[in-house]
Symmetry: C2
Subunit: 395 residues, 2 copies
């Protein structure tokens, strides 16, 4: 990990999570006001912190000094949710001596249970005094935002520009209720480059499209999703237009890595599945094909069972709502041709079954013709574990 300059991290356990083995509140603080871009869930039902984060970003004109996250409670669909979110932001602002609109709140956990915000508020003085820029603090903060995740999800990159080195680091959580159409899940990505909010916004949107919005675990879109990108400018490295392109690419790597980690740790998942669709009329059509395959429980259970059941891949492509000529469709599983021109290809079933036991499974769907549209999608296999986790999540 190479962490960007200008940030400090802290985390603690305040009692929102039932199991005290993992912290449940994380704090990320920027030394000065950082430029911020954020994408939020498009669910009609939105949690109180999502509303407030949006408002704060508006009144701060895209600036923030702190991200305050809690796990264990989504602060959504409750009577006191708005007041609770506001009270924690105000208390943190007071402790940090900043304006309340410079705080971005985020919550994740169970929906519809009143959040006792005093648990968070009371912990703030200690939390703020614990703030530290070191890697261990970053990792503990990243651990505090997890819910049913089994692993830490962090990624970082650095890149050298004309005026100096710039770093990008991110933390995220999975691992159920994950579906594109926004920033799925919570993700916080930090950089020490100096970029104006107006430039940051389109960069985050495009990077999100290629990472978080190309990811599905179970097709469920959460009420609390948010991905925020902060640029502290602590390096004072300003980027010209060409450098901003490079920065966007590096940011996308970090966000793709985070998205892959979410898919690989999908609830109950044993395998990461990476789906590529090629040769369709447009990128959007390719995306719909890849997404339809990624969403198919039948494809996902077949992969769980290492069953090269390419007929299900074909069927899922067929109901994606995209018109295409089935006789031009090839399907590759683990780089092995299993379906040629819409028909069964000859392949060594036993050998392919063995290859499907790998922790990473690649599905490629190619439409042979003139189309240049392509897309990539991340998902995971569907196992008994998903059912076990979700049949008793609240209780």
């Amino acid at each position: 990990m190479t962490l960007p300059l200008g940030y400090r991290y802290a985390s603690t356990y305040v009692g929102l999570r039932k199991q005290p083995d993992r912290n449940d509140v994380a704090l990320i603080v920027s030394d000065g006001p950082a430029a911020v871009a954020a994408v939020f869930t498009r669910n009609v039902i939105q949690a109180s912190p999502v509303h407030l984060a949006r408002e704060n970003l508006k009144s701060s004109r895209g600036k923030a000094c702190a991200i305050l996250v809690n796990a264990g409670n989504a602060n959504c669909a409750t009577r006191t949710g708005d007041a609770a979110a506001l009270a924690t932001c105000k208390a943190l602002a007071k402790t940090l001596k900043i304006k309340p609109q410079y705080v971005l709140p985020a919550s994740t956990g169970v929906i519809g249970v009143e959040l006792d915000h005093k648990l968070i508020v009371n912990a703030l003085p200690q939390l703020v005094s614990d703030l530290s820029p070191d890697e261990a603090s970053f990792e503990r903060a990243a651990e505090a935002i997890l819910t049913t995740d089994t692993r830490l999800k962090i990624a970082s990159e650095e890149v050298k520009f004309r005026d100096g080195v710039v770093r990008v680091a991110g933390m995220t959580k999975g691992s159920g209720m994950i579906h594109p159409n926004m920033a799925t899940t919570l993700g916080f990505v930090l950089t020490d480059a100096a970029i104006a909010p107006s430039d940051l916004n389109p960069i985050l949107r495009r990077a999100t499209e290629r990472s978080y919005n190309s990811l599905t675990v179970d097709g469920d879109t959460s009420t609390n999703d948010m991905v925020a990108l902060l640029a502290s400018g602590a390096t004072r490295v300003k980027l010209n237009e060409k450098e901003r392109k490079v920065f966007e690419e590096v940011l996308t790597w970090v966000m793709e890595s985070l998205a892959e980690q979410i898919a690989a740790d999908g609830e109950g998942a044993r395998k990461l599945i990476i789906i590529r669709a090629l040769g369709f009329k447009t990128d959007d059509e390719a995306r719909r094909i890849a997404r339809s395959i990624a969403n198919s429980p039948l494809v996902k259970t077949a992969i769980a069972g290492s069953d090269p059941n390419w007929g299900r891949i074909l069927a899922a492509a067929g109901y994606a709502g995209v018109e295409f000529d089935p006789s031009k469709l090839d399907v590759h599983l683990q780089r092995e041709l299993v379906c040629k021109g819409g028909l069964a290809a000859e392949f060594d079933e036993a050998a392919l079954k063995a290859k499907l036991d790998a922790p990473e499974v690649r599905i490629r769907v190619t439409l042979n013709g003139k189309g240049k549209g392509q897309a990539r999608f991340f998902t995971c296999d569907l196992t008994e574990g998903y059912i076990q986790i979700n049949g008793s999540y609240r209780t």
Copy 2:
């Protein structure tokens, strides 16, 4: 069961299904040409029998004498599929001394495996000589079309009109790769009323909308789906416009019962889930809400675990792509108010958990306002059984 007049049934085992404990070919024959309406899968990938059935219906102008169904092989995405479907239809036509276009072929089973049509052709003489109008033969035929189903799925009704009694009976199969957007799965519904194909078509389409198209098991749309309605006219009871309305209602009961039976026997399912959405702007919006809830793996696993996790129902309503005011939304679970105006309602958790152990679970989502749009959707809970069945279906 009251069976309609004018039909005979037979079934046999020809070796397409690996387990010989269940027949794999079913034959339904109408004594004379019956009027036919049919709906087919909208998947871009369509099995050979779907193509041929569509063609035959066109050239016979909506008439048929026989339905020939096999399980164990979908006859889809294979080199010899079209020829195989044609050869079986021709052979049956010859044996029955009818035109080949009077045969409706249908297949269900694994995709992408060549169908050895001789297995079917060789069995036809015996199959035809076994034809019988009795209930046992009807039930054995209904059993022969099943795949991963654990139960027979049949329903019947009768209704008295001015000119006499008319009967409706249907058989269907589940139980995975079930999703609306057409006739999901195979369904064959027979009546002895005298109705012209042109009248039959809109009746079937509307009844399908309220039954098969309001049903989802796993969101996967098969390549082989088909629902056919035959009217033998054996009673010579012709219906006037008002009577056709009543007939449509009775037909819908039969088809709803079949759809419910499919949902209740969804792969791995322990519970039938019936979702009602009320008070939305239009029936279509209500439908999208009900369907989104029916498709949510998180809702379905919660119901499997008897967990009254209404937050997931709220979230699924929220991402249905329908705009509504969350503060006007009520959610009932087993007739118990669990969410009032988008917020947690007071309810007895332990008592509700016990109620959720029932084999039938009712979810109601009501938008309080002026809207009159409503819809009903059938689905099932999502259990470890679904994963076990689908992780090793082919092998």
